[in-house]
Symmetry: C2
DNA sequence: GTCTATAAAGGGATAGAC
DNA sequence: GTCTATCCCTTTATAGAC
């Protein structure tokens, strides 16, 4: 059993939670190692390039975890699947999560993405690839439901965007209502896209 | 002519632009006064409570400016107004703005809102009131188009959320496509709400 | 590979001359 | 009311003992 892996993982976990709650710039390396219960030097041992390298790791690890979550929420659809209903249910589940987290950021990438979009190309690109992977995953689901490209990808983009925006409004107002309103709206967009593409 | 007002206004303007580009935590007071061409002491003369007081002023001033922008984009509708079309056009205009700003943050409140939502109640509340004012303004427009409350407010909430989320994806990917996809989606939500409420 | 001490820079805030 | 100098603290990052 190597203890090395534990320390590194604890640092990434602590950084993820702090970045979610406080953002990237407001979170210090010392706070991260304190939260992780690790000595200060460890963070530079595992991330020699410093905070930016740790930030990129956080974005990629969280992004992969959320991709798995999307895959769970939108499983391979059967022939009579209702993508609008599945989408609405994912949003109502997200609203529950938001409340359970006491309105801490349910998306670990959103705050960092806005903070660094104009100032750090490496982190911006990492965040862009993560968002893209989510959109790809969701678009594949809609395609499997019979919605052809490129409509499926635009639909997936709008649904992810709507979720991120609803999280922003929900966190700020400390209310689940924006996310619940978005559930209805997202379902309407899915239905409209389906109608216009399949003519059903 | 008082020169006092100029200095204060320049500080607020500089802070607004820096917060948009770099976020709240990453922007220093010294950088703000340098950008404003003001002496360091001025910022504490006009904002004795320091950075948080300045941040609140930025949120409120920007919020009011954007409320006027919404009022311009969604003028008092005539009897044959098409709210879905007007909404889609507002999004395509927003996409143009995003590109013209070279993907700097078109929304001066979004980044700060996410950064402080869980850490500064005063700033969170200010951001919440700003978002609320935008939703109120847009809901009033949809109401004037014949969509009854509370559907109009939920619709306005979803449209604002969709715009904010699309900005996030657009900034991160340095592309207008998420905002253009959101234009189509927003129009679909407006149409669906109208149909379900008015039965038209 | 773990951990501590410290460097070098920049942060917010303040005092006080003018 | 303008402006400068400085305080004190925290930041990121590094050096080097263990």
């Amino acid at each position: 059993m190597r203890t090395t892996g534990d320390t590194r993982a604890r640092i990434v976990t602590a950084a993820t939670e702090l970045f979610r709650r406080q953002g990237y710039a407001a979170t210090g390396m010392k706070q991260i190692v304190a939260e992780a219960g690790a000595p200060y030097g460890s963070v530079y041992h595992f991330f020699p390039a410093g905070k930016a390298e740790l930030g990129e790791e956080v974005i990629r690890v969280s992004g992969a975890a959320y991709l798995r979550l999307i895959a769970d929420l939108f499983p391979e659809p059967g022939p009579r699947a209702d993508p609008a209903l599945a989408t609405a249910e994912a949003f109502t589940a997200a609203a529950r999560t938001l409340r359970e987290l006491d309105y801490a950021d349910p998306c670990p990438v959103a705050t960092i993405a806005l903070e660094v979009a104009s100032t750090d190309e490496t982190l911006r690109t990492a965040a862009a690839e993560v968002f893209d992977s989510w959109i790809d995953g969701l678009a594949a689901y809609y395609t499997a439901c019979g919605i052809a490209e490129p409509a499926a990808r635009d639909l997936a983009t709008s649904v992810i965007g709507l979720l991120e925006g609803a999280f922003m409004l929900g966190r700020t107002s400390r209310s689940t209502r924006p996310v619940l309103a978005a559930a209805t709206a997202a379902a309407a967009v899915v239905r409209a896209t389906r109608t216009s593409v399949t003519g059903a």
